[in-house]
């Protein structure tokens, strides 16, 4: 019997391919082919020895084809191969990076979330560099079925050992029941939010929450949920899903699958998705959470992306997904409050404050009456402008000067 894991080939970088063949010859024989052999040959040997020893594998031949994998990647690949041989559920964990453990707020800014394929170390390494509001390590559509087990281990190690630079950490698990296996592996790790794909009922959300609570200590920080509506059935239950538990922080829509499900075609004008997107916005707002739009799939066309994102903001969405780092700034630009919006909001907030101080019941800016909803909207705009750094926190004092 032999076990293999990982990837190799001329295009593959920062990964390794591992083949373990248990045999009767005593000892571990490691055959290492690596572009960094003269720099890390010894440490790779050491790591693999230590890990096999941990799993109780004493006699085996190990072939490694390494294209510059970081230690946590090598460890994940070895573990994936060992699990095939021994069926072990033991986990070989490298010391967790303390800087990856942080909590996030339920209503934090979520304009952009960058999808990273969960089995591609090359793309994971720099995931934190692009200043997206969140990173999603994806175990679902970007990982082929036979690679799910090794991807799960890689994502677990990445959450622990790849510096994510303080960005909100999300994992998109697989549809249940497969997704429950994903949760067993990742729920205890540094993690802020779980995306539930193809969610069709509140029950699914509650099952996910229960699984997380079973795996994770409360002291390890909250894990928020973002169900994704991707079917006609899911859309029907959008509100129930959104308010299934206070752990749900946002409700997203996945248009590719949704449009396939209802038999519609995706067009530039997006009329075919207008209804579904409106329903998602409405359901999320009714439940007091963030509505989040789908991804824009052509990363070569940022002009169109800007139009789509601007429209998305107009419809009431708070953010959308990114499939390429080049989309992040465009999306931020679209979802950030504009300069005129901020100025108008400042005027309203100041006028409202002044009126309240003078005990006036009715407030007007120019000839327009300002009621409570208008005031609230202005406050939200100001908050966003402050969070995104467009205006300083002390804008009032500066306004007075």
């Amino acid at each position: 019997m032999e076990a293999i894991s990982g990837n190799r080939g001329t295009e593959v970088r920062s990964d390794c391919f591992i083949r373990i063949v248990p045999d009767d010859e005593p000892g571990i024989r490691i055959r290492l082919k690596s572009k960094v052999k003269s720099l890390y040959g010894q440490s790779i040997h050491q790591l693999v020895q230590e890990e096999l020893n941990f799993f109780g594998i004493r006699d085996a031949t190990v072939e490694i084809e390494d294209s510059g994998a970081l230690p946590y990647v090598i460890a994940a690949r070895v573990e994936a191969a060992v699990r095939q041989i021994t069926g072990t559920g033991q986990e070989f964990l490298l010391p967790e990076l303390p800087q990856n453990r942080y909590s996030t707020e339920r209503d934090k800014l979520r304009r952009s979330r960058l999808y990273i394929p969960g089995n591609n170390p090359k793309l994971i390494i720099n995931a934190g560099l692009y200043h997206s509001d969140a990173i999603i390590l994806d175990l679902e559509d970007s990982v082929s079925p036979e690679k799910k087990p090794e991807a799960r281990i890689l994502v677990r190690n990445a959450l622990r050992n790849n510096d994510m630079m303080g960005i909100e950490l999300m994992v998109r698990i697989n549809q249940l029941p497969l997704g429950l296996q994903d949760l067993e592996m990742v729920a205890r790790q540094p993690l802020n939010l779980i995306l539930i794909p193809k969610c069709e009922s509140a029950e699914t959300v509650l099952t996910v929450r229960a699984k997380i609570e079973e795996c994770r200590d409360t002291g390890e920080g909250p894990v928020w949920l973002m169900p994704i509506i991707e079917s006609a059935q899911g859309l029907r239950n959008a509100y129930e899903i959104a308010e299934a538990t206070p752990a749900v922080a946002a409700l997203a829509i996945g248009l590719e699958d949704y449009l396939a499900d209802i038999g519609a075609e995706r067009t530039h004008g997006a009329e075919e998705s207008f209804y579904a997107r409106s329903v998602v916005v409405n359901a999320a707002r009714a439940a007091g959470i963030q509505p989040i739009d789908s991804v824009f799939s052509d990363f070569g066309d940022n002009e169109q992306l800007l139009r789509v994102a601007a429209n998305s903001k107009k419809m009431g969405f708070d953010g959308m997904g990114c499939i390429h780092p080049g989309q992040i700034n465009v999306i931020h630009e679209a979802f950030n409050p504009t300069f005129p919006e901020i100025e108008k909001a400042k005027t309203i907030v100041m006028a409202y404050g002044k009126a309240a101080a003078e005990g006036l019941g009715v407030v007007a800016v120019g000839s327009k009456m300002i009621d409570l909803p208008v005031m609230k909207r202005a406050q939200t705009t100001i908050e966003k402008a402050v969070t995104t750094g467009l205006i300083p926190k002390e804008w009032r004092e500066i306004q007075h000067e």
Binding site: K35, V36, S38, L39, S43, G68, L70, I125
Partner: protein, 519 residues
């Protein structure tokens, strides 16, 4: 090799190389030789046809007529880059004639020159002195060459020829366009290279000059980038190169998102610290990051309404775009990387060929490089003292030439724009494997995870404070690289010196040793 002496950079270097005495590196600006320029043999026009027709039937005949014999030094230029057929052809002929012990002195070599490895093995070629890329470099690191490799910058090559350190016996100069008298340029023909800047010094100082063209035109070939008066013979061949490989290579803006971050940070740094400004002079290379920096600086200049006085370097369409919309006034061109740049040379009076002697020669009356406001360069390694390496990788294997890198370090502001690590190989390290550039000349290191300013540049440190840029110390950058990649082991070398790195003034800056266990 015994008798190594510690030079001013703290590196042990030999007192002689290939039997010739050499001067150890003494520090930046310290070594000033007292001598006259070297000169080639004096010819007489009585020996040349009165009708000006110097055409010879074949390259073989031309080489024989030029007196090709054992031990000679043959030079070629690298404007044909990886599409070059001429250099290979020269040594095919030498091999056929049974000539041994030649020294090849190219301005750079490319993967296509792998073809020459059998000639290194059978002794046709005894050694190479020039920028070595790819397999020839690896061959050198394995210690398989008779002579010690001598690595020089582009400017150092000009200096070595001028000072008589390297005497060229025969210069074989590929020319995309030439007339029977030997006037030549790179502007037209099937193998157009745009300019022939690297050929200029060779034709002036070589004893014999052979022009090889696949595009013979009637006299006069204009403009005369090579003057026919320096030329002994003209040879017409079917093909001097493969056009798709001449204009190929690294001439696309990087699409890698993390490399784009490096480029964007570099451009922001240049703007925030005032390094780039109205009327400035900049250099641009042809690597993916450099091209991206150029496009970002283009936007910066447009946004601020600045006019860049001159851009210098390897030219691509990205620089041409600046010239076209008036963001840049002049392009001084030493090497052309794409067809758009060739078109521009032909059409724009502000775009002109520029010789290496005029740019980079350190033993000359002024150093153009010191007039440049900003250069951005790459490196294989930068250490915590800002020293740079461009020739070997961290595994010790020689894989690149120095190119114009050392020469550009003299710019007012030298920025090294590199990733913190490549795959698992840290770029910011404790100590460079091979020293190619002293840290005192490297001002800023920009990586995707932070920018380090050389402590000597207190002015830049002051200007960069409060700009919101991610400033780090070089030590912090090194520690970040090690935290991610792990602390690297040292490569193992033998005592054998397989190459030396010359500084721009001809002194020996460092050595390259044979790497254990390759080949």
């Amino acid at each position: 090799m015994n008798n190594l002496k510690i030079n001013a950079a703290g590196r042990p270097v030999p007192p002689e190389v290939n039997g010739e005495p050499v001067v150890p590196y003494m520090g930046v600006g310290k070594y000033k030789p007292v001598a006259s320029k070297c000169s080639p043999v004096i010819p007489s026009c009585a020996d040349f046809p009165a009708d000006g027709n110097k055409c010879v039937a074949s390259l073989k005949e031309a080489l024989v007529k030029a007196g090709l014999r054992d031990g000679m030094t043959i030079s070629t230029h690298h404007h044909l880059r990886d599409g070059d057929l001429v250099a290979n052809n020269v040594f095919d002929i030498a091999h056929e004639l049974g000539i041994k012990g030649l020294r090849w002195f190219p301005s750079a070599s490319f993967p296509c020159h792998d073809h020459l490895i059998p000639y290194l093995e059978d002794g046709t070629i005894a050694g190479i002195e020039g920028s070595m890329n790819g397999p020839l470099g690896k061959f050198t690191s394995a210690g398989k060459r008779e002579r010690t490799a001598v690595l020089r910058s582009h400017g150092g090559r000009v200096q070595a020829i001028q000072d008589g350190e390297v005497k060229i016996d025969i210069a074989v100069m590929a020319a995309p366009c030439a007339d029977p008298f030997g006037n030549a340029n790179g502007l037209g023909g099937p193998s157009a290279t745009g300019v022939l800047s690297y050929a200029d010094i060779d034709v002036r100082y070589a004893d014999k000059v052979i022009v090889v063209t696949d595009n013979l035109v009637a006299f006069p070939c204009l403009p005369m980038q090579i003057e026919g008066n320096f030329v002994d013979a003209v040879v017409l061949v079917d093909k001097i190169g493969f056009p798709e490989k001449i204009m190929g290579g690294t001439t696309q803006v990087t699409r890698s998102p993390d490399r784009l971050i490096i480029a964007e940070l570099t451009a922001r740094f240049c703007e925030a610290t005032g390094i780039v400004h109205d009327g400035c002079i900049i250099q641009a290379g042809a690597g993916g990051i450099s091209l991206a920096i150029a496009t970002f600086l283009h936007q910066t200049a447009q946004k601020n309404g600045w006019k860049i006085q001159a851009g210098f370097g390897g030219t691509t369409r990205y620089m041409v775009d600046m010239l076209k919309d008036g963001t840049m006034k002049y392009i001084l061109d030493a090497q052309v990387f794409d067809t758009e740049a060739i078109r521009s040379l032909n059409e724009n009076p502000g775009h002109t060929a520029f010789t290496l002697n005029n740019i980079y020669n350190y033993h000359s009356k002024g150093n153009f490089a010191t007039m440049i406001d900003m250069v951005s360069l790459g490196a294989t390694e930068i250490d915590v003292h800002f020293n740079g390496n461009v020739v070997t990788h961290s595994d010790g294997i020689l894989l690149h030439g120095i190119g114009g890198w050392q020469n550009c370090l003299f710019a007012k502001n030298t920025i090294i724009a590199v990733p913190l690590f490549r795959d698992r190989i840290p770029v910011i390290v404790d100590e460079v494997t091979t020293l190619c550039g002293p840290g005192e000349l490297i001002d800023v290191v920009v990586t995707e995870r932070g920018i380090a300013i050389n402590p000597l540049r207190t002015d830049l440190i002051a200007k960069a404070a409060d700009t919101g840029l991610p400033l780090k110390s070089i030590l912090e950058l090194k520690e970040m690289a090690e935290a991610i990649c792990g602390k690297p082991e040292k490569p193992r070398f033998t005592d054998k010196v397989v190459g030396v790195v010359k500084w721009v003034d001809g002194t020996v800056l460092d050595v390259i040793r044979q790497v254990e266990g390759i080949w």
